[in-house]
Amino acid sequence: MLLPTALACAQGNGPGTRGARAAGLGNASVTLTDVWAIGNNVAGLGQVTSPTVGFYAENRYLSRALNTAVLAAALPIGPATDGKATRGVVGFEAQRFGDKLYSEQRLGAGYGYRGSLISVGARFDVLQVSIEGLGSKRAVAVSLGGQAEVLPKKLYFGAYLYNLNQAKLAEYQNERVPTVLKAGLSFRPTGKVMLNAETEKDVDQAADFKAGIEYQVIDALAVRGGFSTLSRQTTGGVGLQAGQFRFDYAAAWHTALGLSQHLAIGVQLNRAAK
């Protein structure tokens, strides 16, 4: 029953993709620090300096049954100094994947904190999988993340462990929510260029190797490209910054299954004084 989804996203109810920026980078996103860090690596939340709300929609292989919609919010606690919220950031997320026949719902809450060169974060998820005619199952997953600046402002490291408690969805065939560990490096030689490389491992799947590049053409425009070896996709995307708004779009191409599209919109509720 879960096979088509597993094939399609390579990890049913796994950590998944969050935000079109990550999608454009081949999902090599473990070092990113925007509002979508809530799902990509919760440690990255610690660098969100003003309250932000984001909406993300994804359509896979032009099939309506494989739509994902996510609403996320990040709220810094305490004043922001030095590019970080002094008391950390809390994040919330609501996600829905699928259609009437098969769907996954997720409610997540996370917290990220940045120290001097290191960030840590934790998150809790309530997951629900519903299959029409078979009812639904619920599970709770706990995840942890960490990020570090290996070389200040140049080399970044991130690691994210999703579902460390190996939550069980069903007794049948011992079906569990995937436990996924990912770790990666991001090299940012100048403020304009970012190169990401990452490995991701789901206990039950082969290892995935992902890489992405982002180039900030002008302040308002970024272009991206990437690939992922396990889901065999090549990705590309653009990002636009317009005042408090941020628009990201990404397209991913799979040789056999075709095109997937990702769109994200973010709004900073009050811009932090620089």
Partner: protein, 703 residues
């Protein structure tokens, strides 16, 4: 760059602000786990006694080496200094007198900050105060800080086959079962002072071994006991050891124990052995030590003589039994070294052979300590003749009761090159030789070369010179190592080792050959972080199935491993470590199989009392051949490298609690959770269910 400058500035400031009385550098805690990561490139087997090795390293590194009294040989044994640096330090000491503080290392040629940070946990600058000035011996022992009792307990929580009720096999015979409880116990007391004395007692019971009082079978409670008393630096008498001790002379061709790292990512310093002579033994490996007495005398200022005698019972398969439980691999044929006495068969082999060894060493060291040469003799006698399995690969193995081995060794420093070697002959005519050189071509380029040739009939029982085999027999090889620091913070190290086995081996029915190479690129962005990538490839020939052929056929087997490692301590309280490890394994033209592990560690220090560390790792291997060994943190003095194969997760948590000034507790829980498996392990170790969990508790009481 900026950070180095800052730390340099800080050091210089401290140096400038030093009051008249020398201010002692606060010795940073030794990160032994990280050191082990740097020294052992890749653990590829659980046959090698890493536990013992690790423990000896630990003990060695735990008493800081006094830079004011350390000899050239002792400095080399640290494995962290190049020959040029050692020479520079000795010259500095000769010219300027004793070092006043560790800060002074900065003014020694060739000591960069990285080296200083690396060695600082393991060395100290102490005034050279005579032992007698500290009071009589009993008082010195009583007042020694380094005085501790360890108690350790561990067990696997699940029920295993070996502990089940006895059953009968299909042939009607009772099935083999462990005779003891699944608890592992260790009690150890030790007190020691560098260059003065060492006193220690150890008792151990492995899981499955019974606690029995049975003088008839030489079992007195615990399965293994060890004890020693060692005195050092008593005038002409340099060392006197009573009880259990270990010996290290020359290149370890005849006598070697403890400090061998072998081929690893430290490609230069680790290929040479240091002649450290007689040292105390307090580990729990039930072989590779001597029991009796040993002494070293300084005959003149340049001539040193050692003599030793040892008599103990060793485990052996004296009668070739039909029981197939005994393992006949290349490591344990005849003599059994596992130290396990859990089943009736293992108990029958326990202490089956009495081994008497006598010997000595005479070493000349020139006044400048640039040249040294030595003569070693080891005479081994067994009370019953050793028998081997009548296999062709055992044709040249030792058999009989008596073996005399005599060897010469040398070491010579010319400018920035050190030449060293040892050649020995054993009864029966077999010759073994190992010769090498280490050279510092420039301040940032080091090379090493080592040639070895151990005849197929060369027999030593306590030799452990560098080799691909686990013993020094039936092997020829040439090792070349390189270490380059092209720019500061970067280090590239590499080795290439080619070897051949002129006679057959276990699982190799023809003479075989192979090679092994490694490249590691390490980058240390700051003094507290390290990033490296390493690739290692080993090609070795093994038997392959050849249906329809009467002659054996061997084919090359390739194992290629990739390792990415990142270690950082961004703050004083937190450290993080990530390790990605993968292996490709291929037999001849067969399918390529692979293994993968991704592990994330974190360690937090909470106040002065508590330190918490943990790991979460995911592994996925195609089969047992691609199994992964990942080094794990453990309670102090214990070592853990589980073999991970199949699919699943491995997690552990360890807490170190300083209850008081005297008492420290360690608690460790580890669990491997396998996917798609209903049983774990095989044979007597088999357990039901997908999990295997271990608990370990250790207490240290410092008097």
């Amino acid at each position: 760059m900026k950070r180095t400058f800052l730390s340099l500035a800080a050091l210089t400031l401290l140096l400038a602000a030093r009051p008249a009385q020398a201010q002692e550098y606060v010795r940073p805690p030794a990160d032994l786990d990280r050191l082990v990561q740097e020294l052992f490139a890749e653990i590829q087997s659980d046959q090698v006694p890493y536990e013992d090795l690790y423990e000896t390293l630990l003990l060695y590194y735990q008493t800081p080496l006094n830079l004011n009294t350390a000899t050239r040989e002792e400095l080399r044994a640290l494995l962290l200094l190049s020959e040029t640096q050692i020479t520079a330090l000795l010259d500095h000491r000769a010219a300027q007198g004793n070092l006043i503080s560790l800060y002074e290392l900065q003014s020694v040629d060739g000591f960069d900050l990285r080296t200083i940070y690396r060695v600082s946990p393991f060395v100290a600058v102490q005034s050279n105060l005579g032992n007698a000035a500290r009071g009589p011996l009993w008082q010195r022992i009583a007042q020694e800080d380094n005085n501790a009792l360890f108690v350790r307990y561990e067990r696997v929580l699940q029920d295993r086959q070996g502990y089940a009720a006895p059953d009968t096999t299909s042939t009607g015979k009772p099935a083999s079962r462990y005779l003891g409880s699944p608890d592992k116990l260790l009690v150890r007391y030790r007190v020691s002072h560098q260059r003065d004395f060492s006193l220690g007692i150890t008792a151990e019971k492995d899981a499955g071994e019974p606690l029995t009082w049975s003088p008839g079978t030489r079992r007195y409670g615990a399965d293994f006991y060890s004890g020693h008393f060692v005195l050092q630096e008593r005038g002409k008498l340099k060392t006197l050891a009573l009880g259990d001790y270990q010996l290290q002379f020359g290149q370890g061709l005849l006598l070697s124990s403890g400090l061998q790292v072998g081929k690893g990512a430290e490609t230069i310093t680790t290929i040479r052995r240091s002649s450290l002579g007689v040292r105390p033994y307090s580990s729990v490996l039930e072989s590779t030590f001597f029991r009796g007495a040993a002494a070293t005398f300084n005959l003149t200022s340049t001539l040193r003589a050692s003599a030793f005698v040892s008599r103990k019972r060793v485990d052996a398969n004296v009668q070739t039994s039909a029981d197939s439980l005994a393992e006949f691999d290349e490591f344990s044929s005849g003599l059994l070294i596992t130290g396990f006495h859990r089943t009736a068969t293992e108990l029958a082999n326990r202490q089956a052979l009495r081994e008497t060894i006598g010997g000595g060493n005479l070493t000349y060291t020139s006044r400048s300590s640039n040249f040294s040469a030595g003569l070693t003799a080891v005479d081994t006698h067994f009370d019953k003749p050793l028998q081997r399995q009548p296999e062709l690969y055992n044709a040249f193995e030792f058999r009989g009761r008596h073996n005399l081995a005599i060897g010469v060794n040398y070491s010579y420093v010319i400018r920035n090159i050190i030449l060293f070697g040892e050649t020995a002959r054993s009864s029966g005519g077999g010759i073994g030789t190992v010769n090498g050189l280490l050279a510092s071509l420039a301040t940032n380029v080091d090379v090493s070369v080592l040639y070895r040739n151990y005849a197929r009939d060369f027999h030593t029982f306590y030799g452990n010179a560098l080799s691909e085999n686990t013993r020094n027999i039936n092997e020829k090889g040439l090792y070349v190592g390189l270490k380059v620091r092209p720019v500061s913070r970067w280090e590239v190290s590499a080795y290439y080792d080619q070897f051949s086995f002129p006679w057959l081996k276990f699982q190799a029915g023809t003479p075989t050959e192979g090679h092994d190479w490694l490249v590691r690129v390490a980058f240390s962005p700051s003094k507290t972080s390290l990033l490296y990538a390493q690739i290692r490839t080993r090609v070795k020939e093994y038997d392959v199935a050849a249906p329809g052929r009467n002659l054996p056929l061997t084919a090359p087997t390739q194992r290629r491993s990739l390792l990415l490692f990142y270690d950082t301590s961004p703050t004083l309280i937190l450290s993080l470590r990530t390790r990605l490890q993968g292996t490709h394994y291929r037999e001849d033209d067969g399918p390529q199989r692979s293994g993968y592990v991704l592990a994330q560690d974190a360690s937090v220090k909470i106040g002065r009392v508590l330190q918490l560390s943990g790991r979460y790792a995911l592994f996925d291997t195609d089969d047992f051949d691609t199994r992964q060994y990942v080094f794990e943190q453990d309670v102090l003095y214990a070592f853990s490298v589980p073999a991970l194969s199949g699919q699943g997760t491995r997690a552990y948590a360890i807490a170190e609690v300083k209850c008081s000034k005297h008492l420290t507790l360690w608690l460790r829980y580890a669990e491997t959770h396998y996917r798609h498996q209903n049983t774990v392990g095989s044979g007597l170790e088999e357990l039901q269910g997908p999990r295997r969990s271990e608990v370990k508790v250790q207490a240290r009481y410092k008097f």
